[in-house]
Homo-oligomer: 213 residues x 2
């Protein structure tokens, strides 16, 4: 008739996206989805195994967009002929910060979802999309010629990513009160500046003396 099975899935995902964005993951109710999509509650379970499965589909889209945002930020700089490592890293960080700000409820929902699901499931696709992001960072770091081997490059990229992630998310968490949002950006700038300076001064990074307890 009017809508293919695939089309209906897309539509339901779009609705789910709006619901999550409007009120977090706990706002993703089966009956609300059914009403807004003009179908019965049971029909949702013909398209998705779970509500969690639906949430996963929404998260996939989100991760895809985040990857696009990062890649297109790099493409912009490439086109403008900017090769400075600092500016590149800041552009990536800004892409991430902008993305989180643009999805103030969906992104936390994704993070919480991941933590909840990890104990049992296969993180295949998630990790795949995430390591694509990490490789963008690793490439920028490699172009910076800090004399890092393959292994340290991977770790440095992961460190930078996780750090920016921590700053942006806990910054977002703290800004609803009185704290200003641009303090987050000051932190990002400090991190990137200090990171580059530290790597330049670098030399060898010995990590033997203080082992994890």
């Amino acid at each position: 008739m009017a809508l293919d099975k695939e089309e209906m899935s897309e539509r339901v995902i779009a609705i789910a996206e709006d619901l999550i964005e409007a009120g977090g993951a706990e706002n993703l109710k089966a009956r609300t989805i059914a009403t807004q999509a003009g179908i019965a509650v049971g029909s949702i379970y013909n398209l998705f195994r779970d509500i969690d499965d639906l949430h996963r589909a929404v998260n996939m889209r989100l991760l895809g967009r985040l990857g696009d945002a990062g890649a297109s930020a790099m493409a912009e700089l490439q086109e403008a002929g900017v090769t400075d490592t600092r500016q590149r890293l800041l552009a990536l960080a800004r892409a991430y910060a902008g993305f989180v700000a643009a999805h103030p409820a969906s992104w936390p929902a994704l993070l919480a979802f991941n933590r909840r699901q990890l104990p049992h499931a296969e993180p295949d696709a998630y990790e795949a999309r995430l390591s694509a992001l990490l490789q963008i960072i690793a490439r920028v770091l490699a172009d910076g010629r800090f004399g890092l081997d393959e292994s340290r490059l991977r770790i440095a990229a992961r460190t930078l990513w996780s750090s920016v992630h921590g700053i942006v998310t806990s910054g977002y968490a703290a800004n609803s009160a009185g704290r200003q949002a641009d303090e987050t950006w000051e932190q990002v700038e400090l991190l990137v500046a200090v990171f580059i300076k530290g790597l330049e001064r670098g030399g060898t990074f010995d990590h033997a003396e203080t082992a994890p307890s």
Copy 2:
């Protein structure tokens, strides 16, 4: 009779703590609490306004313990006569990482809870306990003599905290699969090393050229 109102609250909080640790926030069911505490479901609502209110009480305890862990880690180093900035920061980071590892379900639950509650409520007590942690870091940084003024000291401390937080949490999230947990520690070591080197080389940190869009 046997138990004071306060005592019963303590007991319920302890039970709630176990439940959350055992199965996350969604395992904190009213009827389970009532059964385990030997009271009726309704009685819970005489002790706490909400289940969320109970969760908040649990989180308060958690934050208190985290603060204690940080403070006692510093006291240990103080007693051993260690004043090296790197070792101090690593000790703090290790205290945090150890704390997260010791509360693999409660800590994520606290983070998710905070994100969910922020839109409307007063984060008074939370922020208070958190800024106590930040001041520990700030003091270590001040002792490092990097020539940072009050404002930059605060930002640097926050940056470091958020970064370690990001590394530890997303490291924890990724380790359940094949990834090894000590890669997290490599990242922390890299971060701290690079941070200190960057600050030493430091000079002025201009942040004017790349403003947040």
